[in-house]
Amino acid sequence: MDNGNKHLTTEQAWRTWRAACAVDLCPPSDAVVLRAFGAQRFRFYLDRYASRTGHRPREGQTLRVSEDKDAWHFLETHAQAGATREGKRYKDWLFARAEQGTDTETGTDTETGTDTWLRAVESGASLLMRDAVREYLRREHAAAFMESLQRPASRGDDTAYTLEELIPDQVDPLGIVEAREWNELGRATAESYLATMTARERIALWARANSIALSDPDLTRWAACGKSALHDAYTQCVKRLCAEIKRSYAAESPAIWVQLARVTLERLNGLLFQKIMAEKGAARFFKKKGIRPNAGPSEHEMART
């Protein structure tokens, strides 16, 4: 559709659509622009899905919508929270997002205000279409991998946990004595594992145990990394621990692995309560926050439970 600019849509089409209840009530010239845009985005996400999964539709299935108008209708149906005007506030959301200039790309010197606005509203509509396509694929093309307990619960990732591992039978200690024995096992494992952790992992684990967001600017400064790296440090630390437990006790069941991992993490958190001040930069962090460290139970108390 050649509308004289590099965008698929026009500002007029969007504003008309917002004022109307649905694209079917827009003038044909505006409706065809929006439908073409919707179909293009729909195909884009389907193609992305197909290319990343190698999916081929089964016989009799199609991975398309039959007409351009179906894609836009799909977006409208999926995005609305109700049939009334109030239920279609997602349109106001889209426009508010555009008015804020919320697109993360920076404009070029030659980009006009209209271009920026159009880019923002199209990207917002793309987000809505992405969610609609996800729903379409969820309903129409359910994954087959989820049917087995022992297969990795993530397509193409053999290191992913199985359903049986993620929801194992749960260990229920017979009594207080047995609970303490588990805790003692956790303590021994934790002490061994703590020695292998990096400073960043220790900070990340301690922060999570104390409900400190890993995106906290003071925390990331302390850890000398960005929040993504801190998130990764936390995730990798926990995964590595679980992998080592699984490797060391390979003959055991997922119930034992998960129980040992849980009590070990509990003990690790306790050890970190005691040792966190030894981390480089810790004093500055606590001073900045104006708080007292070591607010958790002492290792002595933990040993008693």
């Binding site: 999926h78 929270a81 109030e86 239920g87 506030r89 959301w93 997002r97 804020q100 919320t102 993360t104 809505l128 992405r130 396509v133 996800r134 969820r138 989820m146 049917e147 307990l149 619960a153 993530s154 359903l163 049986e164 591992e165 993620l166 929801i167 194992p168 039978d169 260990v171 229920d172 200690p173 017979l174 588990w182 805790n183 096992l185 145990a209 409900s211 400190i212 995106s215 906290d216 993504s228 998130h231 995730t235 926990v238 679980c242 060391s248 006790y249 034992i256 991992a261 849980r262 993490l265 509990e266 708080i291 007292r292 460290p293 607010a295 958790g296 139970p297 108390e301 008693r304 439970t305």
Partner: protein, 339 residues
């Protein structure tokens, strides 16, 4: 790793996993994987500021009065990232006049956690409520938003009741049990990352100016975890903390729906957590207190946390809710320095 040869595991029973829970998780993981496949590579939320109030009215937004029973769409934040789709919240009664509990709706069709609940609404954006990420907020401080729907009185009552049941962690009616998510047991479960994303997507709306506000409350003697935003205490359960934590003293209600854990400090006050049996902070007694046999009282309970004089720790008798209703506590076990 300790020597695994001839390992004798402490005696235990096995609570069998429910097939239904595994099916639910499989369904959630499938949609989660779809989400990842459709996102831009490395697309995540960027940190951003919540929206400023629209100020003078315009045709996009006019501030109205938020009421319990509203379903609202929050105005978008600036600097949105790749996964910032619209945030819808249900405003449920907060038990206090001029306060509501804002419960966000989830992005996916199926609940991820035991504290997420399928509403039965057919609109895609309103299918799952995320009670774990609820925020108490004064009505006049509700973030800028549009009302998109009003719940009926019956729905408000039903949803509020479900919220209380889910937060308490008590034995759930079958109809509710079937509509909540599977338990989060494995420390490396991918749902941990989902929770972090959702917090980053939703929390800035409700914690503007208060994010990461660690404070020391001199009056209550709370250290370190006095968050103005709700602490993410479900992580205790998710990350493997033993059901009753590492507290020095444990009390529970007779049905064990509520657990009161007391942590000793080297001061004259103790920290107290009020949790449901799964380790989630329980908000049912917010505004209330715990009482000792001698009539001593803790500080007011806020977000499931409080402090109390050390002399009370061995003699807690009641937990009292905001309305004054008392629930008797039973001590589960007590640790002494020499035990």
């Amino acid at each position: 790793m300790p020597d695994h040869r001839n390992m004798k595991w402490p005696a235990h029973n096995l609570k069998k996993a429910r097939a239904a829970d595994r099916r639910k998780l499989a369904e959630w993981l499938a949609e989660r994987e779809l989400d990842g496949l459709l996102n831009d590579a490395g697309g995540t939320t960027t940190g951003s500021e919540p929206p400023a109030d629209a100020g003078a009215s315009n045709d996009l937004y006019v501030r109205d009065t938020v009421r319990a029973g509203d379903i609202r769409l929050l105005m978008p934040r600036s600097g949105l990232g790749a996964i910032d789709s619209p945030v819808y919240v249900a405003a449920l009664p907060g038990g206090v006049a001029e306060e509501v509990v804002a419960v966000p709706f989830g992005r996916y069709a199926v609940p991820a956690l035991p504290t997420e609940w399928k509403t039965g609404m057919k609109q895609a954006a309103l299918r799952v409520l995320c009670f774990w990420n609820a925020h108490r907020v004064a009505v006049d401080q509700f973030p800028p938003s549009w009302r998109v729907k009003r719940l009926t009185a019956r729905q408000v009552t039903a949803w509020t009741e479900v919220r209380c049941q889910v937060e308490q962690g008590s034995e759930l009616p079958g109809g509710v049990q079937n509509r909540i998510g599977p338990p989060l047991l494995h420390p490396a479960d991918p749902r941990h990352a989902y929770v972090a994303e959702e917090q980053e997507r939703v929390n800035p709306y409700f914690t503007a100016g208060k994010v990461n506000a660690l404070t020391t409350s001199e009056e209550e003697g709370l250290y370190l975890t006095e968050w103005r935003s709700d602490p993410v205490d479900w992580l205790m359960a998710a990350e493997g903390r033993e059901k009753y934590g590492v507290a020095a003293f444990i009390y529970a209600t007779e049905d064990e729906a509520v657990v009161v854990a007391v942590y000793e400090e080297e001061t004259d006050r103790v920290r107290v957590r009020i949790m449901n049996r799964d380790g989630f902070l329980c908000h049912r007694f917010d505004g209330g207190h715990v009482e000792s046999i001698a009539g001593g009282r803790s500080a007011p309970i806020r977000s499931g946390l409080t402090t109390a004089p050390t002399r009370m720790v061995s003699s807690l008798e009641y937990i009292v809710d905001r309305s004054g209703q008392r629930v008797r506590l039973q001590r589960r076990y007590r640790e002494t320095p020499n035990s």
